[in-house]
Subunit: 364 residues, 2 copies
């Protein structure tokens, strides 16, 4: 059964100060909610979405019509039980699914484009805290996020420690590594190399779809494991018996990547991709707190749960251990589990029963 869902968009009453020193006014936040908020507002769970995801965590995507990206885990009677919790998922600022981003109108009525300020993960969290303020929700039951969602969960725990009782961070990191930055930079350069990008001023014209597709393809490889790719595709040919000795997609993996690349351009704005990857690359929670990660969590009284996947080479288990060691040093209550799953980074989005058990236990 699908959860009762409400689609909302609110305008933040106050200006939003940003890490860059700039200020955003009239910020809109689009969000979905699932399940009822109880009378004392103690059952709210905030789910943070990842880079290319959105607020449609358990409701159909309005452009693609596909089911919500975590519909297996969020719903009535499911692991994140919407009969029990009021689940909120908001589109991050900088994105393109209703919250203020580079495609939104600036004060002159024209799209921001590259005039949009560079934002950080903490800025994304600030915007969602402002949303919670307007909803008059004080302390969340739990914040949950995978990948960039996990960065937001950690950032909230560090910067707004009183706002949640529990923090669940999955397949994530406390800082972007040089390799992480490098892969993102390739994607940004692919977008910026597309002549349709026009320095970001392409709204109303042909968007830089070819560059965005290449960016998505490069990133997508990092979301999967070598083992998973081999299992799923190996060297199998696509709809043919022999190699074509040409440049068509002979191999299934080529065809799959091209499909991933072109599909993505139907639902995502290239400038948003630039801004959100930049925010991730800038993320370094220790640096924000004087250089010592444990200090980031000094004021948190929340319980933490950290999950990693053994086949995730984008944010490998070592990154999670780094977080857990810092939480230990800060005296926080933390449980940690590395799960075995063959699907690489994307495992957190897939049906991994062991993950369900861990989440269920943590939310009890």
């Amino acid at each position: 059964m699908a959860p009762a869902v409400a689609s909302n968009c609110v305008t933040l009453m106050n200006d939003l100060p940003l890490d860059s020193g700039q200020v955003l006014s009239g910020v809109e936040i689009a969000f979905e909610t699932y399940g009822e908020l109880n009378a004392d507002k103690s059952n709210a769970v905030l789910i943070f979405h990842a880079l290319t995801m959105d607020q449609y965590v358990a409701s159909p995507h309005p452009i693609t019509g596909k089911p919500g990206w975590w519909v297996d885990s969020v719903g009535p009677g499911k692991v994140i039980d919407t009969d029990r919790f009021h689940v909120i998922c908001a589109n991050v600022i900088g994105s393109c699914m209703g919250s203020t981003g580079p495609a939104s109108p600036a004060s002159d009525g024209q799209p921001y484009g590259m005039r949009f300020p560079v934002i950080t993960i903490r800025d994304m969290v600030r915007a969602q805290i402002a949303l919670l303020d307007q909803m008059e929700i004080g302390q969340l039951y739990c914040v949950i996020g995978g990948s960039m969602g996990g960065m937001q969960a950690l950032s909230l725990a560090a910067n707004f420690p009183e706002r949640t009782a529990r923090v669940l961070a999955i397949a994530t990191t406390a800082r972007h590594s040089a390799q992480n930055i490098a892969f993102h930079e390739v994607g940004r350069q692919a977008i910026m190399a597309d002549p349709n990008w026009r320095e970001g001023d392409y709204y109303g014209e042909e968007p830089p779809a070819a560059g965005l597709a290449v960016a998505r393809m490069a990133a997508h490889i990092t979301y999967l494991s070598e083992e998973g790719l081999t299992e799923k595709f190996g060297r199998r040919l696509q709809d043919r018996d022999a190699k074509s000795f040409g440049f068509d997609a002979d191999f299934q993996v080529e065809s799959y990547l091209r499909y991933q690349g072109s599909g993505f351009t139907q639902r995502f704005d290239a400038n948003s991709y630039l801004y959100i990857t930049r925010a991730m690359d800038y993320f370094d929670l220790a640096e924000e707190h004087g250089g010592r990660l444990a200090d980031a969590f000094a004021n948190s009284k929340a319980r933490f749960c950290v999950i990693s996947f053994d086949s995730d080479w984008l944010y490998p288990t070592a990154e999670s251990r780094h977080i857990v060691h810092a939480l230990n040093a800060a005296g926080a209550a933390v449980s940690f589990v590395e799960l075995s799953a063959p699907h690489g980074h994307d495992s957190f989005l897939l049906d991994v029963p062991a993950q369900d058990r861990v989440i269920k236990g943590f939310l009890e």
Copy 2:
């Protein structure tokens, strides 16, 4: 001391039959030689170059002016001693440094562009065997190659087993994995997405440099290790004290990648990148020999040496073990060593003393 070097270009007397069924006529092969060929022509060592390398193994590159790509290992008194060996390194067909490739004139006098036939690793080897025939060199003392060079070394051992006494295959694989194909496909799509590519018909016009630079950047990440990138760059900023909150290359790793990308476009042809990556993706030595890799080596009496690097995630040690197991099954004499080096796939090009010792021992 630099080795005595001779730059040569010969036209193959015979037509070159290709795996695709097509035939190339009037094939030119550009090659460098170092050291003297002895009277009985028993001291010739053929070095195969990798994807983006060329015949300038130990002599300055004519475009960049940089030293040869393996000058630390090849020269008088060096590990591959040109006082003792006559070292030959030929530009592969499909490339752009003098051997016939997509930029070469077809029979109509115009550049082939995408009319150039799709070639395979075996075709590259066939062309070099034809070169050896014209040089009247029967059996080589050794063939040596890293990465795609290693594929050629294995292909020669399998398809022309009588032509070498020794085979040294470094940081390579007997077949391209789904992940290897996926990374190459991203590069090809980046090139083809560049409007300057014009279906490959860009000679005399602006080349698709932006697309080629993105392709190079994506590939370059795979040549390095996560550990090496972290050690070399970490999250250090480039010529600034604080983040710019913009899209310039804030991080050193971004600046480095951009430099790698743009530098590459000065010396390499985008169509050659398409054709050579395709040849690598098509490479599957077992498939060529009835599906069992050991059968590929059934007729070889050569001695083999296989080297891998523990930080190489492009062609990890498991790929080398796969080759070694097949050689064992074929009853071949093989030594295998996994070397520890922090630099990832590119370790084979760098100064790794342990590699020098292994090569020196193998060539005795």
